[in-house]
Amino acid sequence: MWRYITKRVAHAVLVMWMVATTVFFGLRAVPGGPVRGMLGQEATEEAVARLREDLGLDEPLAVQYVEWMTDLLVGDFGTSITSSEAVGTLVAQAVPKTLSIAAFGVTLGLLVAIPAGVIGATRRNEPADYAATIAAFLGISMPAFFVGILLAVVFGVWLGWFPVVGYTNISEGVVPWLRGIVLPGIAVGLPYAAGVTRMMRSSLIETLDEQYMRTARAKGVGDSVRLYKHAMQNALMPVVTIAGIQLALVLGGTVTVEIVFGIQGLGRLLVDSILERNYPVTQVAILLISGIFVFMNLLVDIAYTAIDPRVRYGGEQA
């Protein structure tokens, strides 16, 4: 088991290193150089030269690279061009917002998807199954920001249950914080839940046809025990993998939903920095979002060992 986990951690570190390297080179590949990109066409040559210097862009590439890496490790992300605040502080405000929306979306998604998948599989071709399948289909077909807008219109504007704009920090009380992230959370969580429901349903249907389920039936095990004790854990294995992969949907969703609900999260930060050509912020934002994604997947991998004994207890004894 520890071999599997160390392997996954090593893999995650490797991927993050590659992400950092790509961002480093991607930035330098901007047409006309990052500084020209930042200051725009009309900036004077000498202004461009000065900025290049204090951004350290004139040193040889290798030196820049080492510097970039060490800064990252130590957490010094440089300063934003437009607002000349330390990128670190900007990011520090944004991360909790994105994280809370994503976390709310994922937990809500799983709490809805797993039971829906089970109902879909156990009561096949009955009204409950059709309802779950149709809902899953709709969930997959709607972009997060559209769901966000719909929710904002219905629950925000018409019913007024939840705030439509803005994010209240957790420090000001859990309930207001929660009220603030319910709508964006659902908007982000719905497509995620849809994907997980479909996978849960088909995986459970396959598991119920397995040979060991017929053994359980031949042993006289009752239906409910057979479903929850014998089938569920086996059916969850592919679902956990898909839940990991589909996290990309959630994080992608937060970017657009933050715009809909006017929340200054990582996504918003990223988009604004691109529009303002504020590259130091852009590169850190991309790095962090990928970082969250890779870390979440690492958690999913570790959760997988809890579900699959074959991974926990190695190979076959003689």
Partner: protein, 557 residues
Amino acid sequence: MSADTPVGAEPSEDPDSEDPDSVDRDAATPGDDGAADDADPVLSAEGLEKHFEQSDGFLDRLLGTGGTVKAVDGVDLEVREGETLAVVGESGCGKSTLGQALLNLHRPTDGTVRYRGEEITGLSGSAMRPYRRHLQMVFQDPLASLNPRKTVGDIVIGPMEVHDEPSTDPDVTTTAEVRVDGAVTEPVAVSVDDDVDRAVGSVEGVAAVDVEVGPATDGEGIEVDLGEAGAVLAATVDRTADGYEVRISVDASTPDLRRYRAGALLERVGLERGHLDRYPSQFSGGQQQRVGIARALAVEPDLIVADEPVSALDVSVQAQILNLLEELQTELGLSLLFISHDLSVVRQVADRVAVMYLGEIVETAPVDELFAEPRHPYTKSLLSAVPRIDPGDRSDRTVLRGSVPSPIDPPAGCRFHTRCPEVIPGAGWDGDQESFRRAFSFRTRVESGELEPDAVRDRLEAESDASATDETVAARLLETALPGAVDAFPAGVTESLREAGRLVAAGEDDDAAALLRETCPSPCVDEAPRTVETVDAATVACHRVDPDAPGEERVGD
């Protein structure tokens, strides 16, 4: 076990540019049974090894995880002209890997493979292609070995396209078997072009065309009927002074020729020409296997490696396929490497048998000798384990204990020592063979590390609700792991066995193993047995049979 694909084989594959068939197929008269000792064997292997790397990806290698699976670990064998050599062994002994390694479908890790004396070890891609036409393969799963999206015709024609068949073979003589209807009075001389063997398959070096000559329906002259072959052959008749001259020549495009040959092959294996355009899923298991055989025959190979060809079939269909293989072998002079786990099928089909255990050949012998008096203990146990229909044939059965060890780290010395009922007592053992075997099996159990004293302690405490001392745990360990009574041993032995039990109970497995190695040593563990050539060209790898094997004179078993 990640299959090891030929990496870097150049992708461009152009059948026409392959170098001319460098190996002249000396049409040795096929079908002469028994070993033509002077001629090279059709296929031979010396010290052949194939190991699979267990770790998949450089992260694994980094962390040094995963061992190597020694699927084939030093095999010598040869298949002679027109002979059926059977390789028999239980699942996991590496017989399938051996079959594929011989044909370079797995790149051998070590050792050499020769086809008619020429080395072909490790050849890949186009270098191996000329040899592949002589070495074909039939597979275990009838349906899975046929491409589901291709018609049976395409499947059988495939090999012809790859090897640019049907090409004429200068050594094959073409003749005509002429039957002239009585009504034709004048003499009829029939000549056959010598490339007609492209259309009609050759049997024992001769390609014969059936020609029927009868009176022409429209009055005068004659009419030639070539039967089915008429589709691809043309008969030109010209009138001469003293009768008729008929010339038979090939009159079809290569694709048509291939389709005709494919049709003939299907009929040869017991299917119908009409099946050419069907898909594999539209046939029964037996019929699918016949298509597999037809594909193997498409390029008239010398040798066919049949990997468990009948294991997936029902008994009655199995018999049909076995008879078909036998007929084809006698008629076409094929050599056959027959891989199977079913001893009754092997007895029915084989001329010589090689018994394989955990990557090594432990015994080879002509089939009658092997079944009449097997020499290697494993072969004996295998034979005795097979259930018999006729009660008369059932002798007392020696049932092997334990299961096959894992090929990742096979047991030291003779690989069968962990299960061998006739393990040889080392020097200084003054008890009888049976008591040595019992002590020795306790030793292998301790060495395998399977004994878990604390699980035994839990059980004892659960049963007796009193805390279990080392003494009671040791006693229970001995009771379960040592077959038979503890004290039925020569003097010092019982004491050291009990001591070993106590050591294990105290968690000192290594000391216990060391003590047992002293108490009951055996040459079977210290040294790997040599493969000894016994009287009638049979080989055995066992100390018992090796005249100058190490260790004390053997106690009569």
